[in-house]
C-alpha cells in the first residue's frame, strides 16, 4: 500500500484533545458564532432607535451612554471582542487545515450541484464581515473611546453625541455603499451560519430543524436589512 498507516500518537490531556479535534474546533466556531448572532440582535435593536425616533438622537445617545457605562455590559463587551477574535482565529485555522485535506484539486468540479454558495464561501463572506468590522470600529468605536466626539447634555447629564457622529459619517455615500455591501455579505454568512450552528451543536431533529431553518432564513434577511437601512435612510435624510 502506498499510504503509511497513520497511528494516533500519545494522547494529550482530554480537554486539549477535545478542542483540537475537528469536531471540537467546529464547536468553538459554532458557540462563538451563536454568541455573535445574539449580539447582532441586541446591537440592531439599539441602533434602530436612530431611525425609529425623530428626537434628534436623544434616545440613541442615552442608550449608548448606558451601554458604555454599565459594568456588566462592559464585561460582556470584552467577552464579545474575545469571541469575535476566537471565531476568526479558529475559523482561519480550520480553513487552512481543511485545505490541506485535499492537496490536489479537481481539474473540474461542480459544487453547485450539491451545496449552497454561502456554505462553501464562509471564509470569504466572513472576511467581508471582518474588514467591515475593522472599518466600523475605526469609524465609531475608536472615535468614541479615544477620539474627540462632541458632547451633548440631556436633563443635566452630559454625554457623547454619537448620533451626530453617525449622521456625519453617513453623509458620505462611499461609506454608505460599503455598509450596504458588507451587510449583503453578512446576510449570506448568516444564511449558512445560523442553521449550521445548530447542526454542529448536534441539534438536527425532524421536528425542530425545519423551524430552525426558516427562522435562520428570516433572521439572515431581516437583521442585515435592518442594519443596512440605517445608513441608507440617514443618507437620504442628509440629502434633504
Amino acid at each position: 500500500m502506498s499510504a503509511s498507516n497513520p497511528t494516533i500518537s500519545k494522547k494529550p490531556n482530554w480537554f486539549i484533545q477535545f478542542f483540537t479535534s475537528t469536531i471540537g474546533r467546529k464547536l468553538l466556531v459554532a458557540l462563538t458564532g451563536l454568541f455573535l448572532i445574539l449580539f447582532l440582535a441586541v446591537h440592531l435593536i439599539g441602533n434602530l432607535q436612530m431611525i425609529l425616533f425623530d428626537d434628534g438622537g436623544k434616545a440613541f445617545n442615552e442608550y449608548a451612554y448606558f451601554m458604555g457605562h454599565n459594568e456588566l455590559i462592559q464585561i460582556i463587551s470584552v467577552g464579545n471582542f474575545f469571541f469575535i477574535i476566537l471565531h476568526i482565529i479558529v475559523s482561519v485555522v480550520l480553513t487552512i487545515y481543511n485545505r490541506t485535506a485535499r492537496p490536489t484539486k479537481y481539474a473540474y468540479s461542480k459544487p453547485s450541484a450539491n451545496s449552497s454558495f454561502s456554505s462553501r464561501n464562509m471564509i470569504w463572506l466572513g472576511s467581508i464581515v471582518m474588514i467591515f468590522l475593522v472599518l466600523h470600529l475605526v469609524n465609531f468605536w475608536a472615535k468614541s473611546k479615544f477620539g474627540t466626539v462632541e458632547q451633548v447634555t440631556y436633563d443635566g447629564k452630559t454625554m457623547h453625541n454619537l448620533y451626530a457622529l453617525v449622521v456625519f459619517e453617513f453623509e458620505n455615500p462611499v461609506i454608505v455603499g460599503i455598509y450596504v455591501v458588507s451587510m449583503i455579505g453578512l446576510s449570506y454568512h448568516l444564511l449558512h451560519g445560523f442553521q449550521s450552528v445548530f447542526q454542529t451543536l448536534g441539534i438536527n431533529h425532524v421536528k425542530y430543524t425545519p423551524f430552525i431553518k426558516t427562522l435562520g432564513l428570516i433572521y439572515s434577511i431581516l437583521v442585515p436589512l435592518g442594519f443596512a437601512l440605517i445608513p441608507i435612510l440617514m443618507y437620504i435624510k442628509s440629502l434633504s
Binding site: 499510504a3 482530554w14 475537528t22 469536531i23 481543511n98 450541484a113 442553521q195 448536534g202
Partner: protein, 259 residues
C-alpha cells in the same frame, strides 16, 4: 453517440510522508469514443474504451469496480465535477449513458483527498476507512456467547433509523464531494448505527472518541455543514447522523473515563 472523455492518467502512486501527500504526478488525457449506446452503463463505456486501447497497444485506464450493481462501494469516479456523476442516489456503476448527450465532454477524475492517495489513474487507496472501522466500528462480542436474538427487543422506529445509517457502502463519495475532504458522514453513519442499538450502547463513548481520533489522524478535513456529502451519497444518508455523532462526541468527551 460520440463523446470526448478527459481522463486523469497517473502511473506512479501518490505517497504520504510525514502527514503530507506527495503526488505521483499525472495529467488529464483526452479520448474520443464513438458508437456509445445509451443503454450502456458508464463502466461498460469505459470497458469498450479499454478494449480499444488494449488492441492498439496502449495501457487501459485503471479504475476500481466490482459488483456493478451499486452495493459493494468499490467504484469511485469524479465525473463532470461530481462523485458518481450527475445522477444523485446512484453509484458510478448504476449510471447509464442516457444521462449524457451526443457530443458531450466528460471529465473523469479519481477521488481527491490527502487520506485517499491515488494508486493509479482513477484508483485510490481507501484503507483509511478500514482503519477508522478498526478503531471502534464494532460491537465487542465473540462468536457464540450470545443470548437469543429476540431477547433484545428494539423499537421498529429505532431499528429503521439505525438501518438508514447502516446502508453506507463505504465508497467515499462523501469525502470526494466535501470541499474539506471530510469523512464525517461515513464515520457518523457507523457511530450512529451502533449508538442507537442497545447492542452497541455499552461501548458508545469509547467508540466515538476512538473513531473520531482515527478519522482526524488519517487527515480528513472538518465538517462545515455544506451538505455536499449527503447530497452525493449514493444511499442518501442524512446529515442528521453527523449531528448525532457531534452529540455523541460531546457527551463522550465530557463524561467518559478516558482522560
Amino acid at each position: 453517440m460520440k463523446l470526448t472523455l478527459k481522463v486523469w492518467r497517473q502511473s506512479k502512486p501518490d505517497k504520504v510522508e510525514n502527514g503530507k501527500l506527495i503526488s505521483g504526478g499525472g495529467k488529464m488525457e483526452t479520448y474520443q469514443v464513438s458508437d456509445v449506446s445509451k443503454d450502456m452503463s458508464f463502466l461498460e463505456m469505459l470497458d469498450v474504451l479499454n478494449e480499444d486501447l488494449l488492441r492498439s497497444g496502449k495501457e487501459p485506464i485503471v479504475f476500481d469496480h466490482d459488483c456493478r450493481e451499486g452495493i459493494c462501494g468499490m467504484c469511485s469516479m469524479y465525473i463532470n465535477g461530481q462523485p458518481h456523476g450527475p445522477q444523485q442516489g446512484t453509484t458510478t456503476c448504476q449510471l447509464h449513458m442516457r444521462s449524457f448527450k451526443d457530443g458531450d465532454t466528460i471529465y473523469i477524475e479519481p477521488w481527491r483527498a490527502k487520506a485517499f492517495p491515488v494508486i493509479k489513474d482513477l484508483m485510490v487507496d481507501r484503507s483509511a476507512f478500514d482503519r477508522i472501522m478498526q478503531a471502534g466500528g464494532y460491537v465487542s462480542v465473540n462468536t457464540g456467547v450470545t443470548v437469543d436474538a429476540n431477547e433484545i427487543p428494539i423499537a421498529k422506529s429505532t431499528a429503521d433509523k439505525a438501518f438508514d445509517a447502516a446502508t453506507c457502502i463505504g465508497c467515499g463519495a462523501c469525502v470526494a464531494a466535501c470541499k474539506n475532504a471530510s469523512a464525517m458522514l461515513f464515520v457518523s453513519a457507523k457511530v450512529s448505527q451502533l449508538s442507537m442499538l442497545p447492542q452497541g450502547k455499552t461501548e458508545r463513548k469509547t467508540r466515538v472518541e476512538n473513531m473520531v481520533a482515527q478519522m482526524d489522524a488519517e487527515g480528513f478535513g472538518a465538517c462545515t455543514n455544506t451538505g455536499a456529502c449527503s447530497a452525493e451519497c449514493p444511499k442518501g444518508i442524512s446529515m442528521e447522523y453527523i449531528a448525532r455523532m457531534n452529540r455523541e462526541y460531546y457527551g463522550a468527551k465530557l463524561t467518559s473515563n478516558n482522560v
